[in-house]
Symmetry: C2
Subunit: 444 residues, 2 copies
Amino acid sequence: MATAPVSMEKLVSLCKRRGFVFQSSEIYGGFNGVWDYGPLGVELRNNIKAAWWKDFVHRREDVVGLDSGILASPRVWEAIGHVEHFTDPLVECRNCNSRFRADQIDLNKNCPTCGKKDWTDIRQFNTMFKTHVGPVEDTASIAYLRPETCQAIFTNFKLVQGATRKKLPFGIAQIGKAFRNEITTGNFIFRLRELEQMELEYFVRPGEAERWFNYWLEHDLSWLASLGVRRSMLHLYEHPETERAFYSARTIDIEYDFPFGRGELWGLANRTDYDLTKHTKSSGEELEYFDDETKEHLVPYVVEPSVGVDRMMLVALLEAYDEQPDKEGIRTVLHLHPRLAPVKAAVLPLVRKDEGLVKKARTIYDELRAELPVQYDETSTVGRRYRRQDEIGTPWCVTVDGQTLEDGTVTIRDRDSMEQGRFPADEVLSELQRRLRQPWTRPE
Amino acid sequence: MATAPVSMEKLVSLCKRRGFVFQSSEIYGGFNGVWDYGPLGVELRNNIKAAWWKDFVHRREDVVGLDSGILASPRVWEAIGHVEHFTDPLVECRNCNSRFRADQIDLNKNCPTCGKKDWTDIRQFNTMFKTHVGPVEDTASIAYLRPETCQAIFTNFKLVQGATRKKLPFGIAQIGKAFRNEITTGNFIFRLRELEQMELEYFVRPGEAERWFNYWLEHDLSWLASLGVRRSMLHLYEHPETERAFYSARTIDIEYDFPFGRGELWGLANRTDYDLTKHTKSSGEELEYFDDETKEHLVPYVVEPSVGVDRMMLVALLEAYDEQPDKEGIRTVLHLHPRLAPVKAAVLPLVRKDEGLVKKARTIYDELRAELPVQYDETSTVGRRYRRQDEIGTPWCVTVDGQTLEDGTVTIRDRDSMEQGRFPADEVLSELQRRLRQPWTRPE
């Protein structure tokens, strides 16, 4: 596999052309910080979410799920301090009115937009989106779009624990949208105003938080490796005390070498008992855990591994993208893990005009699509059709050729090795399902 | 199966106790029109969504998916007329300030809240939630939370068609959250301010809209039947011309007999070319279809089957809920379709204190949970454990007993028939997977 870094321009272009990612409201000139995911994008995202849910929830005895509202009582955000503190430092150029995050720009230099230097004072800008619930716009009816999915895990802690009877340590996982009114957006789907998070809040005895912090760090790195993300592209950034959020006793970011620079992919925080304690104080409901055996009441600590679906999608695409020179020019291929690939297989009759081949190919396609997301393609040369599937990361192509009509076998071509093998047509489904269960190794 | 109607009270109670549905922000006194879905609720919802996606997208050659933003350019909503017309008629009691939908209350009668009769004039209230994007609150930065998922399908029509090369007729499907600032909410998860939709926009030649309308009506009814929803509980309501939305040439609701009255489950509309034409006019982008063969440009008609995840979930629970008197009192059971059941199987050692049984049960549990959402339970009598699983709709219980240690077989108990059969322990996974693929019939 080529090792040259991928340019964002090429990736964005492929994403639009093949239907992974579209600019929001493109026909109206776009809408900053929001993207729409096309037919292949929604499949890739669903596969990322399903893989995370399977590995972080279903396969574990100690984690259960939750799906809470984007809207909630404003008291949730008041209690946790977000109404006051969920802010970014905003600075504006008096000359051209461009706005910047004061911590992402050198104020000793001139405005990058107009070249003048006339900055306003820095003010704290709350990045929670506000709306009004009910038919009258007054302060009593203010509600916020959640800026993180975790808070509903804390407010529902007792209800979930009561319904599931889980014992410490245990976790509550959630996948869902979150919204941040970012001052500046950009780098494709990296910094968004509407994003999707995969968050796990893992509740532990206070004395065991450090050990579980290390466990989840290793776990998350292993999970990334299992999906083919190179360890050499990842870096651990431990926040010094001065930089940590006020609720965190320890924070490590798993950063990735994006083409535009190193950036956070996965955040891991020891949130201590900050959230449960704050909600207990504000609501009057004791959000604590009662240990049946020791008869002890305690407020658990929380270890939080939190990753964005959008950033995970971007990393999956960047890790997968490859260009290989060949006789016909450039072969563009996405070496996506088969678990993540939007289309698992394509069924191709070698020659479109051969009714026998087409009929057989359609039969195989109909059988496969009852179980797997697959495509059927009969247009242009088979070489071009392979290229089309390579470009969207389809791991296998099933080709029906002359020999099929003689001995009932078809070829299965592998995207990564480009090797082909013959299999009986009626064993294709089980062969694909077998391959999907195999561990996958990213080609060198 | 008992035929007595389920009371909402009993269902709501079970949903809270077992972790299907919690009131949003309960520790803060709740938040109207929004619910949080607990560990079993999120699984049931995910299964409903996955079943819909498989049957409406993956298994079809003519439908692709989309996942667009909840936020979009405000011009989308201006173009389609929603900024002006997405309204409900609001009336207020001058005496007690209670607010009602004027079309849901008899204004000749007294206020149901205070008993006085002093109504304000009816005014049109826009039910789109508004927010502001960017650091300054002015009209230029207004954005709306989408009140329906379909519009992004129309604005992305050309991008999706271009990327997928689909030919008419074809559909674009989307599952996602939508928001409506309802004047009155209620009936549990029936009328919500934050809801989730499963929408398909099916694009056809204008002359074929009526035929496809009938096709999707039959299709949707069949799909409901395949999940065990009784036809006798469903009613078709064809909107008379005077009641139809302005964009629709024909609308039929599939209504369900909820305990609180008949209500819409699934809406089917012939939206004509209204949306594509409006967006073409407003954006200047021609949202049309070019037929390669006839060299014809045309604006397709759209047939829209649209169903709410929340209402589908409510119907699934209502159809499943049953109480059966037995020796020990009342057996509460959810006869959920196995596809929808949150937990597919529970593994139970007959006796907790028998180390051999526990070890064997744990081995089977570990093998199953690599592939399926399953539970392990060893507390209290096996009879009680069966009841616990019945109550959450687990289709099968795998029990490890004395005979297991002798001949390696376990029992599989069926939730609906309560019959048990013995199977070799190492065939349990394949037996469960076989049963999951079988059609399921709702018990009489």
